[in-house]
Symmetry: D3
């Protein structure tokens, strides 16, 4: 029913697989990437493809999830952003972007589905849609 996707950024392959599987089973289309460089590249190639972003904070040697979030928000100032983290969660108040959700590890998978859905539903009608005709 849609050609839009959620960009999932997670450097641990098994956790990335878990997140992709859970989101797909719930009904989301997902593009998973393992690091910040791939996340920025995927987003910049086609910003209109991504309806939201889910990201771990620590991503190995490159940029952190905080920086990727600011990058994508410069391209789309109201794009839904969900962070997941353990020990970086208390930095959300200073490093996070407005109207984002911080999910603290350990967490339950439905929290992610509800966080993404709620942020998607709060977007202003005109902002979330390029105006393509449909019923």
């Amino acid at each position: 029913m849609s050609d839009i996707a959620i960009l999932v950024v997670e450097d641990e392959p098994l956790i990335l697989l878990d997140l992709e599987t859970a989101l797909q089973e719930a009904g989301f289309l997902v593009v998973g990437v393992p690091n910040a460089e791939a996340a920025v590249e995927a987003f910049d190639e086609d910003p209109s493809k991504f309806a939201g972003r889910l990201t771990d904070i620590r991503l190995g040697s490159g940029e952190s999830g905080w920086e990727i979030a600011r990058h994508v928000r410069r391209g789309n100032s109201s794009l839904p952003v969900v962070y997941i983290s353990g020990d970086s969660a208390d930095l959300w108040g200073s490093e996070g972007v407005p109207d984002s959700v911080m999910i603290v590890k350990p967490f339950f998978l439905p929290q992610i589905i509800t966080a993404l859905s709620t942020l998607l539903n709060q977007q202003h009608p005109t902002a979330a849609n390029g105006g393509e005709p449909s019923h």
Copy 2:
């Protein structure tokens, strides 16, 4: 666990089937109708049966989803209302009812489940229940 249902109004049979299937798998009871006339008739026959309403905006030749929403809200002023639309979404600010959710096409199915659940949970306890005894 309930004898209440969500009224789903959608004039495209395949999309209606998708919506009905997704809502039922999530745990909702659903009554699907293909146009405004059937929607109003189903609602007026037993208003207390419906705990919420999900509607497309454009519904062929009859009334639009905007008008059906106002009709059901005149019968139950806090009934959860979720609209789905593509090109009519920017009219939500002038044609929608208060405390409703506009989901813009293209969308993901969990957005609808979260929108309905959130609106149902926000209802005032005394308003959502006819007072039938239960534990």
Copy 3:
């Protein structure tokens, strides 16, 4: 992905089983107990184990769900609390705790999943996590 659980308190065995099954299928870990005494005992044994609580109001001869909620909030002042009830729902305004959700019977199971997920996501990062290292 987590060693935390939702404490579910319900004195009717069949409804308890329904709730446990629905929450587990959605991705929650669940500890179900049949009465207030068992609920308080389970919580006091390891308060940090429980990320949230779902409770019926009427629980046979012991304490009610209102009292259990106050008990667990004295141990963790921001623990997510979801009540389900039928005829006691109108007492929520005087007997419930702040930032809780009252789900009125009859209800749909996704309402519970959304209520728990939303409350979990609204917790302050520092409050929801004991600080264990993770990515």
Copy 4:
């Protein structure tokens, strides 16, 4: 500090004077009009002048406050709208516009100031401003 104003629509001269005085003392610029015709004319002449609208529901023989609100929202889909009414308040659920506030008579004047301020602050940055340079 601003050349924008709140449009106040009220057909009883003494109440209109009360509202104008209270809003001006609080720090708002106000344009008061006594009926629907004057409200629509003032708005259509310069839609960008008005940052919000406060309206009574019953306005004598012309259009009601419900219709004026839909009219201004067709010109600016996120314009803050605050209704005040006594016996028409229960129609808000079917006749009101989304993200509006219904203030029920009798009321206290700070409710109006808080309602307008809260709605103005919730607007998306890009929507509320024509982009004129300032610090």
Copy 5:
């Protein structure tokens, strides 16, 4: 413009005077009482007179602000309740009522005005008004 009032409960005469003055200057009608007994008596004599309640937690030898709040909510399940306290504030999560505001000392007076106004504006239209005719 109204015959309704805010019930203010505070056992320190100078603070009570400050609160009464600030609320009256802002546009509220106020009934101030120095202890729990007088608060309950004033409320029970004419529950429909009070549109909201502001209370200190510690009130000398009688009942606390927590108990008064539950008492008035049993009479009106959605009455706006604002607590002010210093060292009792961390008990709000277990002892407060839903949809109330806890203002922590030290505080600024506009916090109280905004808290009361916001809660009054969030009430459902039909709940806040006895239906007396007005424009």
Copy 6:
């Protein structure tokens, strides 16, 4: 009634004076500073003195309001932050901090009072208070 203050950062002396006067008349204690350097110095000298921060974005040659906000949030992760700006407002989605308010120029002074009061009232009781005894 309090020894806490709002830190106001604005490089135009006349606007700073307007903001200080309006906040003081409303009941706030205010410390006004003309640039980023003075803002950081005042905050670092006594972080517990400041209950909230109001800042212009462009502040001459030094750091911007975005950077000051991140600085103070690193010291107090839930400190209320209100930004005012004209042409920088559309950067709030990428440069702002979570749970902050962006007020777009031109604006009305009550918007600032409501924004600060609302953020102060939303803080968790235990976070907003150092625990000093009071009634």
